[in-house]
């Protein structure tokens, strides 16, 4: 048993009135003198209340809880809150933890949080209803597939991979309309502009070996909106000195989802990553169990996807940490809406 768990056991016995006067005095003196010990006691107290609410106490402990612990009137309110929380949690449908939601397709992003009560609900349906639902789904997907294929043939727009990320030192400006100044590159621009000069130059990356390909678009011309995911590469850096060199994520009104590629060191052996999206020190969303993947242009990356409506015109920072790796890497960027 660890020192910590010995403390917990002692505190639990204290709260249930199982200690001698001398032991009780020692505990209370520590509670007065040590902040951490008091925090631990609060956690143990909450757990004890939860155990009572969830009927996880033995009969003796339950009796001691009633006789001793609940003698303090303010603990009644804690117990009632614990019971209310239990009622609320039990009334909620089972939810897959969105912290582990991990998008896999760059063209589709699941909205948050990921509610998946569907299959558990379907289990209670009759086989006929299940078959009917399956049939409707198949017909629906076939129709969607035909629409997609016909639209694709008409427009013949290739979907191309984005280009390698320019180094941070090569990209000093945050202005999104100048291609040579961009650290992140928008890839949802109309294809009709590619290769020309003027306005479409913003999508070029002059130093790239594959500059023509690098500036290709992944949406059809005229904003038909078939592909609505914009992919950006966010280099590491928290830009604490200001926004001047912060990468710009430029989002059009047609962009439904944003994919962010976060380069990670090749020698980082982490199997899984945890990422937190923050703005003004407020956590907006957290992803867990993200995995690294190989990008043929950039190398090892972690890909994150999120709905564009989640992003507003402001600066953001993504804090990425490999599981088991204490080092946290920051990726700062700012959002511009077109």
């Amino acid at each position: 048993m660890t020192e910590h768990s010995q403390d917990e056991t002692l505190l639990r016995r204290y709260l249930l009135g199982q200690l001698s006067l001398e032991e009780q005095v020692q505990v209370e003196a520590r509670l007065f003198l040590q902040d951490e010990y008091e925090q631990l006691a609060e956690a143990v107290e909450t757990e004890l209340i939860d155990d009572y609410a969830y009927h996880d106490l033995s009969e003796t402990e339950r009796q001691e809880f009633n006789d001793h612990f609940l003698a303090r009137s303010d603990r009644h309110e804690d117990l009632r809150i614990a019971r209310a929380l239990k009622r609320f949690v039990n009334s909620q449908p089972e939810v897959i933890n969105p912290l582990v939601a991990q998008p896999t397709d760059t063209r589709n992003v699941s909205p948050f949080p990921v509610q998946v009560g569907f299959w558990s609900r379907m289990r209670n349906r009759s086989p006929a209803a299940m078959a009917l639902a399956a049939g409707v789904l198949i017909v629906f997907f076939v129709i969607i597939w035909f629409i997609f294929q016909s639209a694709r043939k008409e427009r013949e727009v290739p979907f191309q991979a984005q280009q390698p990320r320019p180094a941070a030192t090569e990209l000093p400006s945050r202005e999104p309309v100048q291609p040579q100044d961009e650290q992140v590159r928008n890839v949802d621009k109309p294809a009709q502009n590619q290769g020309s000069t003027g306005q479409n130059e913003r999508y070029r990356r002059p130093r790239s070996k594959r500059s023509d390909e690098a500036l290709e678009v992944s949406t059809p011309p005229n904003g038909s909106g078939l592909v609505t995911t914009a992919t950006f590469i966010i280099p590491p850096g928290d830009f604490v000195r200001g926004e001047a060199n912060m990468p710009v994520v430029s989002i059009s009104s047609e962009t439904k989802a944003v994919a962010l590629k976060l380069p990670v060191p090749e020698n980082d052996s982490s199997q899984e990553y945890r990422a937190t999206l923050q703005s003004r020190s407020q956590t907006i969303y957290t992803w867990s169990r993200l995995t690294a993947e190989a990008d043929e242009e950039i190398g090892k990356i972690v890909l994150m996807k999120l709905p564009s409506k989640l992003l507003h015109e402001q600066t953001y920072i993504i804090k990425l940490r490999g599981m088991g790796n204490p080092t946290e890497v920051n990726y700062g960027f700012q959002v511009r809406k077109r």
């Binding site: 005095v25 209370e28 909450t46 939860d50 309110e77 809150i81 209310a84 239990k86 609320f88 949690v89």
Partner: protein
Amino acid sequence: MLDSGFVKTDSQPIRPVDRSRIVLADPPPPKEEWVLTPESFDGLLAWLDPNRDHAAEIYEEIRSGLIKRFRQLGCQDGEDLANETFDRVAKKLPQIAPVYKGDRAPYFFSVAYYVHKERQRKPVVKSLTNDDSSSEELPDPNPWYDNDDDDRDDELLDECLKQCLERLSHSNREMILQYYRGERNVKIKLRKELAAQMGIKVGNLRLKAQRIRVDLKKCILDCMEAKAST
């Protein structure tokens, strides 16, 4: 050397300049509030140590420790609270002395724990004044949980809980709902999984959940109070 404010030989109460202590030579009748008398103070010193000088040193040591800690805890009136602590010990001494066998100093800190808790629970109405009535018990500011109308209160509580959960950040709300899902072994297993998903230890997860619970409780109490007053 003992605090000079503690011992007074004439009958007129005198408040020391540092407001450390008043001892009444002529104690009020029993129905009045209990005050430290020279006899009870002597008894307190004797309990600390049979040697009076040594007892006085121990007393001063404990007192300065109490004042320092009360101030660390944000109590500006640390001296008053230390005095209150000694008063309570002296008052209980007849019952304690025969049964308590442990070290004396922790006993004072143990009593100070309750003094501080009570201070936290009730608003300070007359801080740093010379009016002793400030130590009178105040009505509980949140009496809703003593209401017998449980069903109505539960509805109100559920409503407030729901509101307060919605006010939490998305990640905190999801975390707390995951944390309290399941029972017994299932709950333990789910918590381990949740901690692994978040890349933290189960102990840290519990402290994080505890912090959210504290915020949640405060929000719920405020909500209940607001609804009760309308």
